[in-house]
Symmetry: C2
Subunit: 403 residues, 2 copies
């Protein structure tokens, strides 16, 4: 039985170990959020620069590159500080692969910037390159959320990931809108794409609202300037109206979006700080519980075995049983709650997988694949998730992808 | 970029670390399988002993207790050898809690045996006590299967868990049938319970067949003596026929079941050996791939940077990109496959959770809760899983459990 107690305490210590690893990952996420924001700004500036044939934002773009590089330096330093010892890292295989992909994409930034400076890329090509890098950064955040074993931390991570993803769709909307206003026209396909970006934002923010704690919800609510939101909706309406657009609206659109995205960045930084705080609190809590357990068990062993540690009375017997049962029930409840939180992440995985399948089999771009899923869902009055599941169920009967 | 390569290699090393941990758990599972088998035999002997008012199997029972204690000693030794350092264990919180519960239940065995020897328990009470301990042991196997991150190993673990669980239901059927033949009669509820035990066995063996590799399937097929299976089906039919039973069939039933279960034990031991072999092979494979990676990268760095390690050419650039992409795709494919395998485990979790809910809210035993799910499924022509999901969806509107 003594070894049973040891395993009970070892299980507690492992919980603390898992929380400590989450705390370290949370530090990293704060830094990634900042870098993502700077990249989003650089994407916006590059877009205006390219759209105006280098006429506008030339200086702002260079300033923004300098900001971006500072944030990139912090990211590299954070990566370098990570413990990569395989015997001590839990989610290493997936997390480190994502980081390797991010670092590789970061190394490609200077070449991308040279081509933008020389105006060798269209705004859309430049946007796509930045979108890919940001997607890689968000994939790191997703891995962190997916590997969390504490339901409370997992909730916070799911809320944060969805907020960051929603902010990224807002950034993509800024880029796309700038393109539309600069080119002074929007066709039906463009309007559809714009509506997709709005839907995707709203979908992410709905999940955020479901999982965020009240303080985060309040921070988000109070960050939204009603005037900015009204301007945004007005410009969205104008941008999606067929016919010729006033190119002067381009600047108003960019400023309005930027104001909104910068406000989101403030909320995001607060989410990151809350997450670190939450990890710290959960670690303290788990340590206090471990101390309580140890003290209870020691006093029980003392009381029940005056003849020495080899003898345990029925009193201790019952207390240990209570502790084992409590621990089993607690882990069961945690696991159930975690499954509920993870369901959201799994939905995203299923949609991603269906997208990947469509991309491989029907030679679609990522955006086209998503559009196909979404259009099918609308036509059949189903959720995108249901269509994605149906696509995956059909995977075996699809022809092999052409090379 | 150098650090990108480092993370790529670190990710590989983490995969190897995960496989090494799985290999250790697999060793443990072999020992748990043997102990489970001895417990099942002791349960059977105790059942006959109690059912015959101590008239039969008195000596066999004592012999079997000695066998069981030897296997228990191996289990304790294996537990003691486990690394419980929280910084080095991945699934510690859940695995160690399960182990603590098992050790606690093992400590209660001597008292259980005394009460059986003194005939202070009914056969059904004794059976239930053994069933609980075996369920604890199988929960350890389930945790191991649930924490595996390699799809091939995960498949083998899911196959093994379901085979062990199916064998346990076969053992419960042996115990229940002995009871029926000894008491010389079976009522409608008893017949229903018997059918449930047969269904549960078949469900487990179906999952086993889905996930086992061809060698394991063949081993299982050739282990089944057609004569034994024919006898089993004949005795099942007799046992489920209303009316008076010949008590002499009790011995024939026990022998026939025992022969079948012992044959399953041979297959189970082979599954455990195959699992250890598979882990070893996957580790070797992953190590070879890591060495290949390292060699490729080193030669690329040498070729492309005659001026020194600080300069990388476009050739290396492209090779690294290919490696990063290959790694990402590989992990994605592994994760997809793992999700498919895990779906089976999740189904079990959902049914367990629905059972727990019914037990708490309607004060049912575990068997009654499962019967309720199963009966509802049959009435509504649905799967048990669908009914379990419906029960969980209703959880919020159920009244709070009475204390």
């Amino acid at each position: 039985m003594a070894s049973g107690l040891n395993f009970l305490l070892a299980a507690r210590r492992c919980e603390i170990g898992e929380l400590e690893e989450l705390a370290k990952t949370s530090e990293l996420l704060g830094v990634l959020g900042r870098f993502t924001h700077e990249l989003q700004r650089e994407r916006g500036a590059s877009n205006v620069y390219l759209g105006s044939q280098g006429g506008r934002f030339a200086a702002q773009r260079l300033e923004q590159i300098a900001q971006c590089e500072r944030a990139a330096g912090e990211v590299r330093a954070s990566f370098d500080r990570l413990d990569t010892d395989p015997s001590r890292v839990r989610n290493g295989a997936r997390l480190f692969s994502r980081i390797a992909a991010v670092l590789h994409a970061m190394d490609a930034l200077p070449a991308l910037r040279e081509r933008i400076a020389a105006q060798q890329l269209s705004p859309r090509e430049a946007t796509d390159a930045f979108v890919k890098l940001v997607a890689g950064l968000l994939a790191v955040v997703f891995e962190a959320a997916d590997s969390a074993t504490d339901p409370e931390v997992s909730r916070a991570l799911v809320a944060m990931f969805n907020f960051m993803q929603g902010k990224e769709f807002a950034g993509q909307e800024r880029a796309f809108g700038s393109l539309v206003f600069t080119s002074a026209g929007n066709d039906a396909a463009g309007q559809q794409h714009w509506r997709n970006l709005i839907d995707l934002q709203q979908g992410c923010l709905r999940v955020f609202q479901e999982f965020a704690d009240p303080a985060a919800l309040l921070a988000n609510l109070s960050s939204q300037d009603p005037q900015v939101m009204a301007d945004l909706e007005r410009l969205r309406r104008l941008g999606c109206t067929p016919g010729r657009l006033d190119p002067d609206l381009s600047q108003a659109w960019f400023d309005c979006c930027t104001e909104r995205i910068d406000a989101m960045r403030v909320v995001e930084a607060q989410l990151a700080a809350n997450l670190r705080h939450l990890c710290g609190r959960r670690i303290e809590q788990a340590r206090a519980e471990l101390r309580d357990h140890q003290a209870t068990l020691e006093s029980l062993v003392r009381e029940s075995s005056p003849a020495g540690p080899a003898h345990y009375g029925p009193h201790l017997e019952r207390s240990v049983m209570a502790l084992v049962q409590e621990q089993t029930l607690r882990l069961q409840a945690m696991s159930d709650e975690l499954d509920t939180v993870r369901a959201t992440l799994n939905e995203r995985k299923i949609i991603e997988r269906a997208k990947g399948l469509l991309m491989a089999h029907r030679h679609l771009s990522e955006q086209e694949a998503y559009k196909t899923l979404r259009q099918t869902a609308m036509n059949q009055n189903k959720r995108v998730l249901d269509v994605a599941e149906a696509v995956l169920a059909m995977a075996d009967v699809l022809p092999a992808p052409a090379r």
